[in-house]
Amino acid sequence: MPGEEGVWVFIFGDMMVFSLFFITFLYYRGQNVELFVTSQTHLNQSFGALNTFFMLTSSWFVAMAVQAARRNLGKFTPILFSLAFGCGFGFAVVKVLEYSEKIRAGITLTTNDFFMYYYIFTGIHFMHVLIGMGVLAVLTRYSWSGEFSAVKIRNLESGASFWHVVDLLWIVLFALLYLIK
């Protein structure tokens, strides 16, 4: 098993909570499809797609960082973790730009049901991104020596798994909020 058992229990819990978010969103969307489809046209799809690219790429860097640690490739691990952190930072910048664009246009949490779910779900996900960036910063520091014991690799795997969850939850949010009509 990659990483610690406790981390997997947390990850599973998190995925269950988000499953309820996805189901809630589509259920209420079903009550007023027209409102949700019209509101969606106000989202900046380029921001959504760019952030998907950031998430997928950061996850790729994290997966390679763990593999580099197993192969004892020295400094490649912390370098790859910091590249992943950079992508996380890119995601955060785009998200802030996106929120400010919406707020400037007068679109807030109370505009309608679509935007209430948009702000709550992407906001909770954004908190995950910020916590995940903290984890990536710790992993970069932790792997800085470029020497890896079995325990160290296990701890790296635990942190890496959390970041991958942040990525996969965004994949679904992007599809449901930005793409389906």
């Binding site: 890496a160 599809a175 389906i180």
Partner: protein, 91 residues
């Protein structure tokens, strides 16, 4: 490092990005003109991507069988429920 870049992980990343571009096109009316077909395709593609993240990036492909079953079951159940809700709304 070249070895890492040439690994399966890199191929998966490339496919995930390609799938995102494809979903984007479908979401903008390319190929599937019926919103029900396009939406279903977008949800299926999202969960195929999620499955690859779980199996290859989170390395559940080689984890103990119960973990893999939980991962696969989550993907299948959530994807099916979401498609069901989506199609019900459009029926």
């Amino acid at each position: 490092m070249t070895e890492l870049l040439r690994s399966r992980t890199s191929l998966i990343w490339f496919l995930l990005v390609a799938a995102t571009v494809f979903s984007w096109e479908v979401g903008h009316g390319v190929g599937l003109h019926d919103a029900r077909h396009a939406g279903t395709a977008i949800i299926v593609i999202a969960f195929v991507k999620v499955r690859f993240v779980i199996l290859d990036f989170m390395e559940i492909r080689h984890a103990p069988m119960p973990m893999r079953i939980v991962g696969e079951a989550w993907v299948l159940i959530v994807c099916t429920v979401l498609i069901g809700l989506f199609l019900t709304a459009h029926s």
